[in-house]
């Protein structure tokens, strides 16, 4: 098991290296440069170029960046010149992760519940209701969902605050808005998987043993049906926890989301790289966790001890 994890970590580091290399050279190919403000004094600009090392050959800069990254230093932002990339990620990620975890919890609990209920009541009105909910969830984009929730619960019913992040009440609407899509895809996947598992021979064996329907569903059906849900959870967790531009902007949440977009618009090289490395590492980590979880749920994919 530990050998397997070491192997996976090495593969992860290599993947990250490729990612960094590609992104490092790609951002330099983009038109424009970080310091384009017309108000900028040419002397100041020259100092800054020297300060960030842009006067050196690109390949030297590349290895310099890698060297700094090894020490955990992702450099200063080129827009917020007095802040390091580490500081920005460190101060915004907790908000995004907080929101993401809440959304994820809602999505998993209700998604699995809806999926199971729909599958057990296949063909009934309840099933149709769950399926329609899932279709709505996957087809309505989050900015519409977010706005509708704000309008209904914030402006019309006035039960929940419209925006800001200042206590539990404030978290409900953005968490729900963010959760909706994931919930829908989890419920769809779970429903399909449950219906497939119920056809399996071992379910018939379980019935022939005289087990109750509850036990058959709980012990034999759900555990075997949950695998595809775990598969989709890897990338989903990474995407949801590292912040979303739209929901965070709509609800004025000081998360990471806006820095993804802003850094690219501003040609903030160190910020783009920092965000990419962070997201990439997180995604690889989530997928590793998923692979280990497979083994926990399904003994057939358990890795030799």
């Amino acid at each position: 098991m530990s050998k397997y994890i070491v192997k996976r970590v090495i593969a992860a580091v290599l993947t990250l290296l490729v990612l960094i290399t590609v992104v490092f050279f790609l951002v330099r190919l983009m038109p424009g440069e970080p310091f384009t403000s017309e108000k900028l004094n040419p002397i100041v600009k020259e100092n800054m170029i020297k300060y960030y090392g842009f006067d050196k050959p690109l390949i030297v800069q590349y290895f310099q960046y890698l060297g700094n990254l090894l020490k955990g230093n992702m450099g200063y932002s080129m827009k917020y010149t007095n802040k390091t990339v580490n500081y920005i990620i460190g101060s915004t990620f907790p908000y995004s992760a907080d929101l993401g975890l809440r959304a994820l919890a809602i999505a998993l609990v209700f998604g699995l519940l809806l999926g199971v209920v729909a599958a057990l009541n296949r063909g009934t009105r309840l099933d149709v209701f769950c399926v329609i909910l899932a279709i709505i969830g996957t087809s309505i984009p989050d900015f519409i969902m977010g706005a509708v929730l704000q309008y209904v619960f914030g402006l019309k019913l006035k039960v929940l605050p419209v925006a800001k992040w200042a206590g539990f009440k404030y978290t409900i609407l953005p968490s729900c808005a963010l959760a909706f899509y994931t919930m829908a895809s989890v419920s769809r996947t779970m429903r399909a998987s449950m219906l497939e598992v119920v056809q399996q021979d071992y379910i018939k064996t379980a019935r022939a043993k005289g087990l109750s329907n509850f036990r058959i569903t709980w012990k034999h059906q759900i555990r075997n049906a949950i695998m595809p849900v775990i598969t989709i959870m890897g990338p989903t967790v990474a995407a949801v926890l590292t912040g979303t531009f739209v929901i965070e902007a709509m609800y004025a949440i000081p998360g990471m989301g806006k820095y993804y977009v802003d850094s690219t618009n501003d040609n903030d090289y160190s910020m783009i790289l920092g965000m990419t490395v962070f997201y990439g590492a997180f995604l690889i980590f989530c997928n590793l966790v998923v692979d280990i979880l497979y083994g926990v749920v399904d003994p057939r994919v358990r890795i030799g001890k």
Binding site: Q200, D201, Y202, K204, T205, A206, R207, A208, K209, G210, L211, S212, N213, R215, K219, H220, R223, N224, V297, D298, P299, R300
Partner: protein, 345 residues
């Protein structure tokens, strides 16, 4: 035979399924009984209703779409057709064990073998965990699972096919049921394992007095194992009798066809097997007469128009065939037809 206790009796069972194409009668007017300690074989080709009949007995067919159109199934005096779900749960696994066709897919891949066997006792609150484990290990050893303690903690994918089928048999037998139903238990196993499994079933019958219903399309299995045989075709019983009677005094052309289509040890190298031409009847609109008439080489006009009546040939032996009628031409169905390669039929 009459002095032994009758534990199962099917009376005119008709079992149907609702489908998009209408109602299909999969089992049509089947009656038979099973005595204590007896092995009854049900033989027939795919789709003849063997498995549905077997699953009826435990109500394992999905209901809906399946339902009893008519008939009664008495198990130890109780009518299974009228049982509630709770009553069925008490019979399943505990009173009647079921061994499925494919051991590869019939075990839950995410549960340890031991836990799956013990699950049979789930409703028995009087048993402790240790007692259940003892019973499980005991039966595992009895069905020939070596190193039972180790296997107990393993998952199905860690076992071979033959081992898995032994686990299935252990699961069916652990509660010492009075009857087990085997639905083609050796079809997916290789012949050496098949022989071991059949030997095991015979031995268990001897030791535990279990009645067995053996569903198969393999006449070799029937010959080795069964006391009595039921030949099914198109959802109906066409011939029934003691195994020797069915084999040596064959009284239905379909049974003869089955026997002609298998190779025996005495089959010559250049001999061609005689298959039964045609396909089984469409059960959406079953033929009005004998279901086999369309494929029967002896078919007469009457066979297509009227269903044949039951003809008793001995105490146990009976058949549904117009050839047994006094006015019918005499045909010897016991002779094996042989044909050399290249010869015309």
């Amino acid at each position: 035979m009459a002095e032994r206790e009758k534990i199962l009796e099917l009376k005119n069972v008709v079992y149907s399924f609702h489908t998009y194409g209408g109602i299909v009668k999969a089992v049509r007017d089947v009656s038979f009984d099973l005595y204590q300690g007896e092995i009854l074989g049900i033989v027939g080709e795919s789709g003849c209703g063997k498995s549905v009949t077997a699953q009826c007995i435990m109500r394992l067919n999905p209901e809906p779409p399946g339902f009893f159109s008519s008939g009664e199934i008495f198990f130890k005096g109780q009518d299974i057709c009228k049982m509630t779900h709770e009553q069925l749960m008490q019979i399943r696994g505990t009173e009647i064990g079921f061994i499925f066709q494919d051991p590869m897919t019939s075990l839950n891949p995410t549960m340890r073998v031991g836990d799956q066997i013990e699950e049979v006792f789930i409703h028995d609150k009087s048993m402790t965990k240790a007692m259940k484990k003892e019973r499980a290990l005991d039966i595992m050893a009895k069905v020939g699972i070596s190193d039972a303690e180790k296997r107990y903690h393993q998952y199905p994918h860690e076992l071979s096919g033959g081992m898995k089928q032994r686990v299935m048999i252990a699961m069916a037998l652990v509660s010492k049921p009075s009857m087990i139903i085997c639905d083609e238990p050796t079809t997916s196993l290789d012949v050496t394992i098949e022989a071991q499994i059949l030997e095991l079933l015979l031995q268990l019958r001897k030791e535990m007095g279990t009645s067995i219903i053996m569903i198969t399309h393999d006449l070799g299995v029937i010959a080795k194992l069964c006391d009595r045989v039921l030949v099914m075709y198109g959802g109906k019983i066409v011939e029934r009798g003691m195994a020797e009677e069915v084999f040596y005094e064959t009284a239905h052309p379909y049974t003869q066809g089955l026997m002609n289509s298998i190779a025996g040890l005495e089959t010559e190298k250049d001999e061609v097997l005689t298959p039964i031409e045609g396909t089984p009847p469409d059960l959406f609109s079953p033929p009005v007469g004998c279901p086999f008439a369309a494929r029967c080489e002896y078919a007469m006009e009457v066979c297509h128009k009227y269903p044949p009546q039951e003809t008793d040939l001995s105490e146990q032996h009976m058949t549904f065939c117009w050839l047994q009628h006094e006015n019918a031409p005499k045909v010897d169905l016991t002779k094996k037809k042989t044909k050399k390669k290249g010869e015309q039929a």
